[in-house]
Symmetry: C2
Subunit: 265 residues, 2 copies
């Protein structure tokens, strides 16, 4: 007997991160993993400006707003057109949501616009996210770019950016070390140790940091420690399909009402 | 007698902020103010993708890298082309620097690329900034978007983003409340009070915040308090040419070796 999926059984997973951090690749890889594991997933593209994402979207913002036409019609550049497209998309939230509900699958995997600053630091982005998820359990996967977080200052600035975005979207957030195949295993383990044992990061900063960072690193680290509570960043390689099972476990833990979810509610 | 300006007398002022925060408008307005005040200023455009900035640049990255051609030649989208253009610009830093030195003016006002995430959170941006300034005194003007910082959570997330960027660029940083003419005088004063007296912000967050922000706001505020040390964000209206004199005074205080500069050194 088929169990009817009501909207209450739908879990929304928003994939966020700076341009080039690997959002679309992770969306494609994680969809593949979920499907192979026979878990129902609806893939949503929320980027009006994307040309050729590496997955086939079930629901697509481009069916409602035409980025190219907006650019042409209003004489806007790439940034302006993206901002306008996202503003216009707000009037189509009900349609997007209805499409998602009609699919009736448990997991809704949402690839957010490529340029985070045009999405997170404007009013339309947070509004799109909160309206789409409604009262359903939801979380975000925040992608940390392997090229930036390999150094202690780069890691710290990326984590602070993550907290800033966390405030904008008000979602439980999992930190993902994206494109981990670009790093050596040793480096990956070092970055994980920074996230779980901040004193290791403090030691590394004491040696390398200069200027304001040297002076304030312990104060900044305390915030990361408070908010992260020792939870690890998850190394993921979309290219090599590595880390998917652990990611799924972490998502389950949060969405099923694990302790992390409680602290965010 | 004309005093010869050596490179030691040059002060580099980098204008940074998210797309649409008003960087180019502030560059234009502040150049005008400096020129009217008979202070020598060289204006540098560092955005390869800008089409028609509201000022006449003395030195321009577009003379060295051709964004349109890069887009066409390599078949890149707007983001990819900007990233490639900034990477290519690195090989022209010496030329840019030489041009700036040849102008021989005291103030060098540098309008940074419109999309901060493609500049700050890649390796080329921090490298461009540190190479351009060399050993000269330098600082950044970090523009806070009036539309975002009007609410306590928006203010907090923007300030955290500012700290994250501060770590990337390692420059003394002045927080600017940009486009202040969009806000009422009352709202401007409220935002200033958040920056100088964090307990007022804490009270506001206690009332309105939810989720992780409610739980961790005091921890986050402590960092802002430590790093900001009670220094005020400066309200600026480029459109109405308001706030320029106070901005100039603050820049002087930092570049001339005032206490703020010492704490960042």
């Amino acid at each position: 007997m088929k169990i009817e999926i009501t909207v209450q059984n739908m879990f929304f997973i928003f994939v966020i991160g700076t341009a080039g951090s690997g959002k679309s690749a992770l969306t494609a890889a994680f969809e593949k993993w979920l499907a192979t594991s026979e878990l129902g997933v609806t893939v949503v593209n929320l980027d009006p400006g994307v040309e050729d994402p590496p997955y086939t979207s079930d629901v697509d913002i481009r069916e409602y707003v035409d980025y190219g036409q907006i650019m042409h019609e209003f004489g806007l550049g790439p940034n302006g057109a993206l901002v306008a497209a996202l503003d216009m998309a707000i009037s189509h939230i009900d349609d997007l949501k209805e499409e998602i509900i009609d699919y009736g699958r448990n997991y809704v995997l949402i690839d957010c616009p490529g340029q985070m600053e045009l999405f997170a630091y404007r009013n339309s982005g947070p509004l799109l996210i909160s309206s789409l998820k409604g009262n359903n359990p939801a979380l975000s996967l925040y992608l940390l770019d392997a090229n930036i977080v390999r150094t202690p200052p780069g890691y710290l600035s990326s984590m602070l950016l993550g907290i800033s975005i966390n405030i904008r979207f008000s979602l439980p957030q999992i930190g993902i070390l994206s494109k981990s195949d670009l790093l050596s295993e040793e480096k990956v383990n070092e970055i994980i140790s920074w996230s779980t044992q901040p004193f290791i990061l403090q030691d590394a900063l004491d040696i390398t940091a200069e200027g304001m960072l040297k002076e304030y690193s312990s104060s900044i680290l305390r915030v990361l420690e408070d908010i992260g509570s020792g939870s690890s960043v998850l190394p993921i390689s979309s290219r090599q399909m590595e880390g998917m099972e652990i990611l799924y476990g972490e998502i389950q833990r949060i969405l099923a009402g694990g302790e992390n979810y409680q602290t965010y509610e």
